[in-house]
């Protein structure tokens, strides 16, 4: 699975941080943004690829957005992107509640080691890999012919192919969300009625 890491930190020195080098060595695609707005724009324009975000919390006072706002914005655009907070300040409980509400994937302290950091990064990567959209993508890769088969029909009569549904899920459209939730219900139903075994 291909993944792109987006690192947003107003401190330009972070671009040369050994953690970024390590991510590049292991996962190849690493984008660094010292301007939070540019970073956010990149994320919003690339919702159809796999992203993992490392986010600083305290930005310089000139930036209109801080880590908390960014996290909220990212979460509002797509709840599928794991966002790891990477900060030098010690978090108080109050700030953490914000992270829980906006579903931060994890918290890394600026003074943690590569080993500690990679534990959380790998966890985020695996989480992403096992997500519904990536399962569909894996399916398409190994069963190319299923790609354009219509699999979902809405009550208004529209139909969606497997590939189209994948896009809807990644862009977190109402159709995509509806499909995910119905698919989960269907699976549970099938399991309960012993129509299928996992």
């Amino acid at each position: 699975m291909e993944v792109t890491f987006v690192i947003i930190d107003d401190n330009k020195e972070i671009e040369e941080h050994p953690l970024l080098f390590t991510l590049e060595d292991k996962f190849k695609n690493v984008k660094f943004y010292s301007n939070p707005q540019e970073g956010l724009d990149y994320i919003k324009n690339n919702l159809d690829i796999n992203l993992i975000v490392l986010l600083d919390i305290e930005f310089s006072k000139d930036d209109k957005l801080d880590g908390h706002d960014l996290l909220k914005e990212i979460h509002n655009s797509s709840s599928l992107i794991p966002v790891i907070l990477w900060s030098g300040i010690n978090q108080t409980n109050e700030e953490f509640s914000d992270f829980i509400n906006n579903r931060a994937f994890g918290f890394l302290s600026k003074d943690c080691s590569l080993e500690e950091a990679m534990l959380i990064v790998d966890k985020a990567f695996n989480n992403l890999k096992n997500s519904l959209d990536n399962t569909i993508e894996d399916w398409i890769i190994s069963n190319e012919s299923d790609k354009d088969k219509p699999i979902y029909f809405t009550s208004s009569g529209e139909s969606y192919t497997l590939n189209e549904i994948l896009k809807e899920i990644r862009l977190q459209t109402p159709i995509g969300k509806e499909f995910s939730s119905k698919l989960n219900s269907l699976t549970i139903d099938l399991l309960l009625r012993k129509k299928e075994n996992l």
């Binding site: 401190n11 020195e13 040369e16 941080h17 050994p18 953690l19 080098f21 390590t22 060595d25 310089s60 006072k61 000139d62 030098g88 300040i89 302290s109 600026k110 003074d111 943690c112 080691s113 590569l114 080993e115 950091a117």
Partner: protein, 625 residues
Amino acid sequence: MVIGTSSKRRERLSPLPHKRKVAGKKGIGRFAVDKLGDKLVLKTQKKNSSDILCLETDWSYYSKLEDSQLKLNFEDEKPFFTDVENKYWYDNGDKEVQGTTLEISQVNEIWTENDINRAFKELSKLVPPNPSKTNAYPFNITIKSPYKDFDNVKVKTQLIDFATKKVELTFDKKKGVQEILQYKKGSLNKIKVPERPCGFLKLTLYYFDQPAKSKYKKHFNSEIDGIKIYRDGIITTPFAEYVADRNKQKDILGIDKRRWSGFFERLSTRDLLGYVEITDENNPDIVESTNRQGFVENEAWEELRRFIIEQIVQLESFFKNAKNVERTKTKSGLGAANQDLKILKREIASVKKEASPKVQEKLRSIEANLGKIQGSVTKSINDYSKLEKESKQQENLFMSLVSLQTYAAMFSHMTKHTLGHILTGAEYFYNNYPNPNLEDRFISISKSIYKKMLKLRKGVDFMLKYAKSDTELEEINLKELIVNLFDNIYVDRLNEEGIRTIVEIKDNLILNYNRKAIEDIFDNLISNSIKALKNNNEKIIKCSSLTSIDEVTILFSDNGIGIKEKDKHRIFDIFYTDTAEEGGAGMGLYMVKTRVEAMQGNIEVIDNEFNPTGATFKITLPFKK
């Protein structure tokens, strides 16, 4: 009684002829009654009518209904609360009597004598302790209980007496001015300032010292428990919520939460009684939160809190000074006593020669006793000086601690980042070296490790100065000191914020003072300026100097947000802060001022160098002879 309606809130007064104040909020009555007991009989009778209308409400029935509703499916039809039919009937009564009675039975908890006592005390705080004014909406509360002390007692307003100091602040709406306290040169004055964002208000404050406190407690059998807020004559701050442990009591005004409380002669809610009087008309933006646990967080409430704290700070300054005056008096009193003793001894010596042998013997014994007294007076003077020196040292230590705290926050932030960089850099080497493909990275990482180590070293050096003695004097090149602060210590912060610095000080200007004290002064001024500049596009900090024969004048300026005219009189006050959000504790400028004054110098805010915005501090220090 209709449950949960908002009709009460439409008007703040009940209809004519009563025009009573409606204090309740939506649905509150129902909940409060419900908490006391399960069954309520409401009896009401109009004047000149012998009919008493009685309505019985059984709350237990409502809770049963609620329970059963929760068990029903969502789609099922459910009875509504309004479907519950309450029993009502008419009783016969005396035509001369009128009014409403609530009879609550099946009480949830037994009322012990202690509970009644608490209820009595809390109810006595329902209206402000201000006996001079008659309440616009008079009412009485009588407690009848099986307990001897409370078999038939009328609740009286809690009075306040025995205070060491009483302060009353009011306002003049016509002139648009509010009174506030200002401590200046030993006296506490009321000055008039424009209306504050919290609206016009009255504040009555009582301060109690230790003897006054015990007198108050003994006489009223009540605790000294801080400041309460009354709106239109009725208490609004949380009340009737008994907390056995006084440390856990709510401090919604934040009086005890202030940083460094306990140091620097701070007053706490246990030294103060007082009440703030606000009104719907003057303070519409201060809104009680519906759960009655405080106020809605908004600018007006924030300002009210600030207003009260500021007045307390002025009181603190006044009492601190009073203590100092008392000390000086004692010291000079002792000195005078010593002098008197000397004169007495001399006089005795002069009459001794001419006295008879018998008187001489008597005088000798008096002389010996006088010698003893003189010895203990001298010892007292010495002890006193020692004590004074110690407390001065203590205060210096506190000052150091406070500036250390500010520095420690900055230092640990920097250290965390720097250490993280170095640690991961070394780790990257350890994991990947050697690898010809990564050669560029190894070079960049090792360079960065080197740079980061230098940065750490600088931080540690600066930290070390706190370990140094505080009283040593040395020759300081002012220009070097300030350039070092700008170019080494603060360089990261200044670069981060894009601040340009200008230093116009002669190369050979040497001051003979304590280095740390001088560094503290500029440390604080720089961090203040950084905060003040946060919203500027072009950011400048400038430090210049002028010298005359006997003094040096230093101007320290920035082109930031500046100091508002209304704040100029209080910016040097301890714990006054405009930047609590950015971690300001209101210590910085206070410390600057005390440091400067300790050097026999002076600091003031003058018209700013950078127009149109900015602030300029003028520091004058004498050259030591």
